[in-house]
């Protein structure tokens, strides 16, 4: 944020229907209404994109202006009186919606958008319940895989042009365009999508024209509940919501957060839900026996490590609270080091993605410093070099690993330790065969806590549903092996 934007803006008073609004100068008229909780039907307007003014749903009347105009193409002015509840406007919205639905295939039963679809929502509110349309509809291409896990259905499209504006304005990759004229106009893709933010297209599409291949047909949206949390994919720490229900977690979507991520999030961040409800989630301690993991009693592990020298390698993805409780329990700070995920990709891609994949490196460093431990990579390397068969090494596994080569080489160095225990969420990775025991820890969605992002801002992790053993975090296990 620049300094100019931080300055308090002049507030402007206006009247929307009978409600008095007070908004900063220069606000979009439709945006002003939406921000103040007034529900106005709209498709093409998106606060994060340029104004297109093509859906014609947000028509308003203003006192002293002869013709109705779309609110999205107006800026607030002092003392204006705007109405969208007159009969004229209501008729206009009703008919415009009818026009929108004219060539819509109405395949809601097989459409993933059903339940959160703009057409359905406004139809319930503004629809003409008996359509006068009995003519043949215009058919366009259905089920086109346009790359980046996005599926395009041109028939469902209402040509609001949000997607084309997104690839033009935000990612600047220009893969999408609207070809042809009139009611044969349709979204077309040049070869295929090739950007790291393609899944945002699915979010901004107000209808079911763009759907996610990853989420496609897995669940109906009304079975899902959203848990607001923070993305742990990289140090950016975008605000996200994870959709889940009792059978699992299904998708991740961004939450509007002007301070961190704005309206978007990257496609890598969309994958952070995948390990939450895998079948391999641990429900209790496991032992590696006969080349497979079997449940084991805690006392057995306790027995094994009794005479050993306990060492810990923490990951940089735990919450501040977990570090705190861990350091409270485990005082032998010389035996604690930190494993940092290596940087991958460009330092910063200009939109959101950052190379540093440790979501809470700053929190970890702070906690280490506070406890007097050494969080540097050298300290970790030194510990790895000095491992002996007398050591019991506890490794807190990072929840998501990007650079598997680097991680494998890290694991190859721990074999010198006599006893190796991993604190992890699931047993799905092949590298686990190097360990003698696995101990379950909660995933990021199974604990309350905070992490610190690249701006040194505290970001909140919230607790959602649990799909494995989540009652004991890293600190609690440390307590067990005193």
């Amino acid at each position: 944020m620049s300094e100019v934007e931080k300055l308090p803006k002049k507030m402007i008073k206006l009247k929307w229907n009978d409600k008095d609004l007070e908004v900063p100068e220069g606000t979009n008229l439709l945006g002003a209404a939406l921000n103040n909780g007034i529900k106005v039907a709209h498709y093409c307007y998106h606060p994060g994109l340029a104004v297109a003014g093509v859906c014609r749903m947000c028509m308003v009347e203003q006192q002293g202006v002869p013709r109705p105009f779309p609110a999205c193409n107006a800026v607030v002015a002092e003392g204006i009186q705007v109405r969208n509840d007159t009969k004229q406007i209501k008729d206009a919205v009703e008919w415009t919606l009818q026009f929108h639905l004219l060539n819509h295939p109405l395949d809601c039963p097989i459409c993933d958008q059903a339940g959160e679809c703009g057409l359905q929502d406004y139809y319930m509110k503004h629809g003409q319940y008996d359509s006068a349309m009995i003519d043949k509809k215009v058919h366009k291409k259905k089920v086109q895989d346009i790359g980046c896990d996005v599926v395009l259905d041109a028939e469902r499209c209402i040509l609001c042009a949000r997607c084309t504006r997104f690839v033009d304005d935000v990612t600047k990759t220009h893969e999408l365009g609207i070809v042809n004229r009139g009611d044969h106009a349709e979204i077309s893709v040049q070869k295929e999508l090739h950007n790291d933010y393609a899944q945002n297209l699915v979010d901004i599409c107000p209808v079911g024209a763009l759907t996610s291949k990853d989420f496609r047909f897995k669940q109906r949206v009304w079975f899902l509940e959203d848990v607001e949390s923070t993305c742990i994919g990289c140090e950016t720490g975008c605000s996200v919501k994870i959709s889940q229900n009792k059978s699992g977690a299904y998708r991740v979507r961004p939450i509007v957060d002007s301070e961190v991520n704005g309206f978007w999030m990257c496609d890598d961040g969309r994958k952070i839900y995948k390990h939450l409800s895998t079948p391999g989630r641990l429900v209790g301690p496991m032992v590696f026996k006969n080349s497979m993991f079997l449940p084991v009693a805690e006392s057995e592990i306790k027995e094994k490590i009794k005479s050993k020298n306990i060492k810990f390698i923490l990951s940089a993805g735990l919450s501040n609270e977990e570090y705190q409780s861990f350091f409270k329990e485990f005082k032998n700070i010389k035996n604690i080091t930190l494993y940092q995920l290596p940087k991958t990709g460009a330092e910063f891609d200009g939109i959101l993605k950052r190379a540093d994949k440790n979501c809470n490196l700053r929190g970890a460093q702070k906690a280490f410093k506070l406890a007097g431990a050494d969080s540097s990579e050298e300290a970790m390397k030194k510990m790895l070099d000095t491992l002996t068969s007398q050591d019991a090494l506890f490794v807190v596994m990072p929840e998501i690993v990007y650079d598997h080569d680097n991680y494998a080489s890290f694991l190859s160095k721990i074999k010198k330790a006599g006893l190796r225990v991993a604190l992890t969420t699931d047993d799905m990775r092949s590298e686990f065969s190097d360990f003698h025991f696995l101990l379950p820890v909660p995933t990021f969605l199974e604990k309350e806590g905070h992490i610190i992002n690249y701006q040194n801002k505290e970001r909140k992790l919230n607790k959602g549903r649990s799909y494995g053993a989540s009652d004991r975090n890293v600190g609690d296990w440390a307590h067990l092996f005193h």
Binding site: P105, L106, D107, C108, P109, I110, A114, I134, K136, K137, H139, K142, V143, R216, F217, K218, R220, W222, F223
Partner: protein, 175 residues
């Protein structure tokens, strides 16, 4: 309990007995001669036919080509008050079908036969039939999968019940 105190006081219980016997014998003769319809039937040999509106065991209808009509929109599962319908949907390679169930299960033991699923279905894919004979030992036998629901031998000899409701319009106009 004496139904008619007055009758009993005037005629005593003997006469009452005869009045009752007369009704019994009259009904027996009427039934034997077929002058009056019997309420009971010889069940396993004879079957009672309920009205078409009876809500018995479910059936999944099929299209003319024999595939399931169900598009797995999950509206039935959504409306089911007993939470007894479990559907797993998947992508179908045929773009005109797009979505079809890979698994459609109904737990009959949970089902309350309310018929909401039938009403919720937008494509006439699920119906409640007149079948009322249900028996089973283990809990597993009470879970019907989509194969049983659509192609059990009772339904046109395993071919399933073909439904073409709205198909004409849907395919012609894709309304």
């Amino acid at each position: 309990m004496i139904l008619n105190k007055e009758l009993y006081r005037h005629h005593g219980h003997l006469k009452g007995l005869f009045i009752a016997l007369r009704i019994t014998i009259k009904t027996m003769i009427m039934n034997l001669t077929g002058m009056e319809k019997r309420m009971t039937i010889n069940y396993p040999e004879e079957k009672y036919f309920y009205s078409d509106r009876f809500k018995g065991r479910h059936v999944l209808t099929v299209k003319e080509d024999g595939t399931l009509r169900c598009t797995s929109c999950m509206l039935c599962a959504t409306y089911c008050p007993a939470d007894c319908i479990h559907i797993i949907a998947s992508n179908n390679d045929d773009p005109s079908v797009e979505k079809a169930p890979v698994s459609f299960e109904i737990e009959l033991l949970r089902c309350v036969f309310c018929g909401f699923c039938e009403e919720a279905c937008p494509v006439d894919a699920i119906r409640l039939t007149g079948e009322y004979e249900m028996a089973g030992h283990s809990e597993q036998e009470w879970v019907m999968d989509q194969h049983y629901l659509a192609y059990r031998p009772l339904l046109s000899g395993g071919k399933g019940i073909v439904s073409t409701v709205d198909d004409h319009n849907r395919l012609k106009l894709r309304l």
